[in-house]
């Protein structure tokens, strides 16, 4: 059963990922991304990270990708780039080579350090808490870790979110009344 789930989810993930990078139309890429995110959520559930799976779907697929789509709409869908050639010489083969190298190294690491992770359970010695264990469910366990050991980080991230919102407002503001940096007006002034 687990195998079946894994295989299907993996297929979805990989197809989606390939779709992201191959699609000519950015909207298609966004939709492929959604597929990948969904597959990852499934695998999260498989790994007993229920809360995270939910958050993944809600935040990632539900908000972030939607944001992407908003921006695509805002800027025009008919922006297609030429996928045949690459203006930068040697970029494509080198990119594939580098990425393949990284993959190879990763796999090599796995093979070289071959271990059966499943019977290494250090959860009992973990500073933060265990995933498995009787009683509490995933949400509670995660919450306990978050609000005791990582409280400071949690608060900081909330500040980070505020900053991000402010930044987004400032960046995307349409400079209508007083342009901070108006190219056309400045060049006209220089020409005079």
């Amino acid at each position: 059963m687990e195998l079946f789930v894994f295989v299907v989810a993996a297929a979805i993930i990989l197809c989606g990922a390939v779709g992201v990078i191959i699609s000519r139309n950015p909207v298609h890429s966004a939709l492929s991304l959604v597929a990948t995110l969904f597959g990852v959520a499934v695998l999260f559930v498989e790994q007993d990270a229920h809360f995270l799976a939910a958050v993944q779907v809600i935040v990632y697929a539900g908000a972030i990708v939607v944001l992407f789509l908003f921006v695509i709409m805002l800027l025009g869908v008919d922006q297609s780039e030429d996928l045949e050639t690459d203006p930068l010489a040697g970029q494509r083969p080198l990119a594939v080579a580098a990425a393949a190298g990284l993959l190879g190294l990763g796999l090599a690491t796995l093979i070289l350090t071959h271990r059966d992770f499943d019977d290494v359970a250090i959860g009992a010695q973990s500073a933060v808490g265990q995933v498995s264990g009787a009683g509490s469910d995933n949400v509670r366990k995660l919450g306990e870790a978050l609000f005791t050991n990582y409280l400071f980080a949690f608060e900081i991230t909330s500040v980070l979110l505020v900053i991000a919102v402010v930044a987004a407002v400032v960046l995307a503001r349409r400079a209508a009344e007083a342009p901070m940096f108006d190219h056309d007006a400045q060049t006209a002034e220089a020409d005079r």
């Binding site: 992201v20 800027l75 990284l102």
Partner: protein, 106 residues
């Protein structure tokens, strides 16, 4: 069935994560549309998340999931700011690709 006896081990998940990461890296280096490049970054982040969650389960440590939580939050903030920049950029030059922003050429 015979196949039912085979269980996906931790290694399978890790391999999957590596593959996903690689695909994202290739996409980042090859595509020119800024939005698509951003989506490839999201792919890479997801691969990392997957790896962390796998290790959390394997090492029985909730810390792995906590990390993923924070990655999610920061990724969200990053997307917000990044898209804001892209919007500001694309307003100036409609149809710009990543290759057009090369003023810092040495």
């Amino acid at each position: 069935m015979l196949l039912a006896a085979v269980q996906p081990t931790t290694t399978w998940y890790l391999v999957l994560g590596a593959l996903l990461f690689t695909i994202g890296a290739v996409g980042l280096m090859v595509r020119r549309n800024p939005l698509v490049m951003f989506m490839c970054v999201e792919l890479m982040l997801n691969a990392v998340n997957l790896t962390f969650v796998t290790f959390a389960k394997a090492l029985d440590d909730i810390g792995g999931q906590t990390i993923v939580f924070f990655v999610l939050v920061v990724a969200a903030a990053e997307v917000v700011v990044g898209l804001g920049i892209i919007v500001a950029l694309m307003r100036r030059r409609p149809g710009a690709t990543a290759d057009d922003i090369s003023v810092l050429k040495g």
